[in-house]
Symmetry: C2
Subunit: 440 residues, 2 copies
């Protein structure tokens, strides 16, 4: 019966590596059809601005916009949304926002410099980006937490202008999303979405200022549009399906672990929930818990498909092996639900967010623990990081040579420049060498 | 006569903005032809590994490789190159490497955490990537300085395995490049290039380990291949032509400024050299210097074309206006050749590297001042940074809730999760709430 719900694997099986590779296989594919639709939308918005944005929005979102002003949300409307939501919702959003803000202040990077013996100054000046655009999905999957997680790091970084786009299919907007925008300090909200919204943020229109970076999740058209404008503006990572990897020593309540796996599985059918445990009997118990807990879960149909397609309970030889496997998988979310979790922390090298101990449900990190919930998926934790303040700051190198420093460095630079056949480089340095003449 | 060498503009002219936009216009375009050639190469290397790498390398680089081992450079060969180069070259490379290393150690980010009143621990763990690939162009534009600038930050970050690819057309390799690889601590050198080298680094072959990130400049095929594998591995920015913006108060020797402009112009015909100065007579003098200094410059034909196509001497109303203009241009290299350069530093927000004072030739930064010479081009300094140690480190959020913390946070998370219709999230958090039952 449990085998119907989620697959069981064992690292001791000889074809385990192949099975694991198959389980993890996922690749973002942009179909040519999507790419060509997106290319046309980008081109139209780039050349015709607001007019094209209005046309696409009316067509795709069944709106009746007449002029650009019609897609702007007045700040009074944000306040009104904040008044309309329940006091409990409002307090939860405000507590979450404050905790996210507190955590992200630790990420602020400061400018630095040092002075060498000859008076030469070297350093790095750190500044915020000027304008950032946040994409927030509309319609059925409207996530106020996503507004907080994308906007707050930008504001903490010091970005002056954080603008948000959110589609309003049939004119409908989510009050919690608008309230979250107000709490997060979003400067301007535009009720547009899809590739046309990405284009408007990247190129600018008569009404919408071009931004320096676009962040936030979206459908395949949004992802394709972000990929296409990458380079003209910065973008965040193109996210794959959400994943959780739980490592448990068998000492946590199996219901807790099962619900943690379900909290990932309920996201969508491609979400991935994997449990690693050395104790076969514990895996049995979790399998039973999964079946039981699924029965009255509102999103059970989604979670069932996710578990069946992409879930796994994996028996490992030891917790050490589990950690090695986790480093290979590089999960978005890693729960280390064991007795002494801090013991394993130094060995963990690839993970978006690490949840230590039996009490740290992954869901806390999604909403209010403080760290960002925008995390690297599909193994990209090997080389990328949670969204953070550092994503909205940039650096400039600073070099201020003393006369003596220029003399010393000019000689070295001249040798290297001539080695590369770049004589003007050598001569430019040579002008600052004492008593030298640049011609030689 | 001077008008033949470089254009003159004035911010007071009424069509200046349009002229400036035209001057700056540059867009990376990947032709469909290049993209389809690259897609085929990526596919072949991905499915056939070393065999495909060998075939393409033999075809494009006129090599006669038989087996994969033939494209590996033995570490003895790196040492041999180090012995073959002149003592002066070797010392220059070693001085440069040490200064680059010293500067980049200031960029190392450390893990941090803090403990809340209820015992909950929040933090961020910082770790190096495991494997990085460096692309180094071969043939006529072989730059040892580029090896240092790409490899050293990775090594300082703690990357275990820094592998380098460099094509060897007709089997020819540059001793300075090999010597620089040895000095920088590169772990393995493969004499392959083009899209096939990018594919090998991204997907791995029987001989070449797949890496987490690929950095370094290359031709249009290399750029297209990097763009295509972006997401599977991290890449650095796709670089445009090199640029310098000089702001001068008119008090620097016009020959010095002219040579600084030429040092950029000699890179390639699309390189861009712009001078901003409030003093029209100084601009006249620089124009004369340019003509004179061009006469015996080895790469004068390239520099002339660059100045004619993309260079400009621009008269500004004031130094303050020059700084504002510079922030709009967001140059790769910014020289502030004025009396009190530090006065302007806080106003500079968009620039890859800032060279302060009359003695700080941009060329010093290219080779040995310490900061990286891999810098954001084409206005991307609005949102990106010099290559640095931070590009080879990644972060993991760390959350370790106390029982009390899980209780407090679980309530907030539950409210927010139910607001988003994610009941399993709410129940997973509720399990950790004292005396609560997750079903409600």
């Amino acid at each position: 019966m449990t085998s119907q719900c989620i697959r069981r694997l064992n690292t001791a099986e000889k074809n385990f590596d192949t099975q694991l590779d198959q389980l993890l296989a996922w690749e973002a594919v942009t179909s040519d059809a999507v790419a060509s639709v997106v290319a046309e939308i980008l081109q139209q918005v780039r050349s015709r601005g607001d007019a094209a944005v209005i046309e696409y929005t009316n067509r795709f979102d069944r709106r009746e916009l007449v002029r650009a002003g019609d897609f702007i949300v007045a700040s009074a409307d944000l306040n009104a949304a904040l008044q309309r939501i329940s006091p409990e919702d409002r307090e939860a959003l405000e507590v979450a926002a404050q905790r996210v803000r507190d955590y992200h202040y630790h990420q602020v990077q400061e400018s630095w410099h040092y002075i060498e013996a000859d008076g030469t100054v070297l350093g790095q000046q750190i500044t915020p980006m000027a304008r950032v655009g946040i994409y927030v999905p509309g319609g059925k999957a409207s996530y106020p937490s996503s507004v907080l997680m994308n906007a707050i790091p930008a504001k903490v970084a010091g970005v002056d202008c954080v603008n948000m786009v959110v589609p309003a299919p049939d004119g409908k907007l989510n009050d919690l999303v608008l309230a979250a925008a107000g709490i997060a300090g979003v400067n301007q909200v535009y009720t547009i979405g899809g590739a046309q919204a990405v284009a408007a943020l990247a190129y600018g229109t008569e009404t919408i200022a071009a931004v320096d970076k676009i962040v936030g999740p979206g459908n395949v058209y949004v992802a394709a549009a972000k990929r296409a404008v990458f380079g003209r503006v910065a973008i965040d990572m193109i996210a794959g399906p959400s994943e959780i990897l739980v490592i448990c020593d068998g000492g946590t309540d199996p219901d807790w672990i099962a619900m943690d796996l379900l909290s990932q599985a309920e996201h969508d059918e491609m979400a991935q929930s994997i449990l690693l445990c050395p104790d076969a009997q514990f895996l049995d118990k979790v399998a039973v818990s999964l079946q039981q807990l699924l029965t009255d879960l509102p999103r059970a149909p989604v979670a069932r498909k996710s578990l069946a397609k992409r879930g796994a309970l994996i028996q490992v030889g030891s917790l050490e092996e589990a950690i090695r496997l986790s480093n290979r998988i590089a999960p978005e979310h890693l729960e280390v639900s064991v007795a002494d979790p801090e013991r394993f922390l130094p060995q963990i090298c690839n993970a978006g967010a690490i949840f230590l101990g039996r009490y740290t449900a992954e869901a806390l990190g999604d909403y209010c623990a403080g760290p960002n919930h925008v995390l690297p998926t599909s193994g990209t934790a090997r080389f990328s990081s949670p969204l953070g303040v550092y994503d909205f700051q940039k650096r400039s190198s600073v070099i201020y040579c003393s006369a003596e420093g220029a003399d010393k460095l000019g000689r070295v630079a001249g040798t290297l420049a001539r080695g590369e056949g770049l004589e003007a480089h050598a001569r430019s340095a040579a002008f600052r060498i004492k008593g030298d003449t640049p011609g030689q």
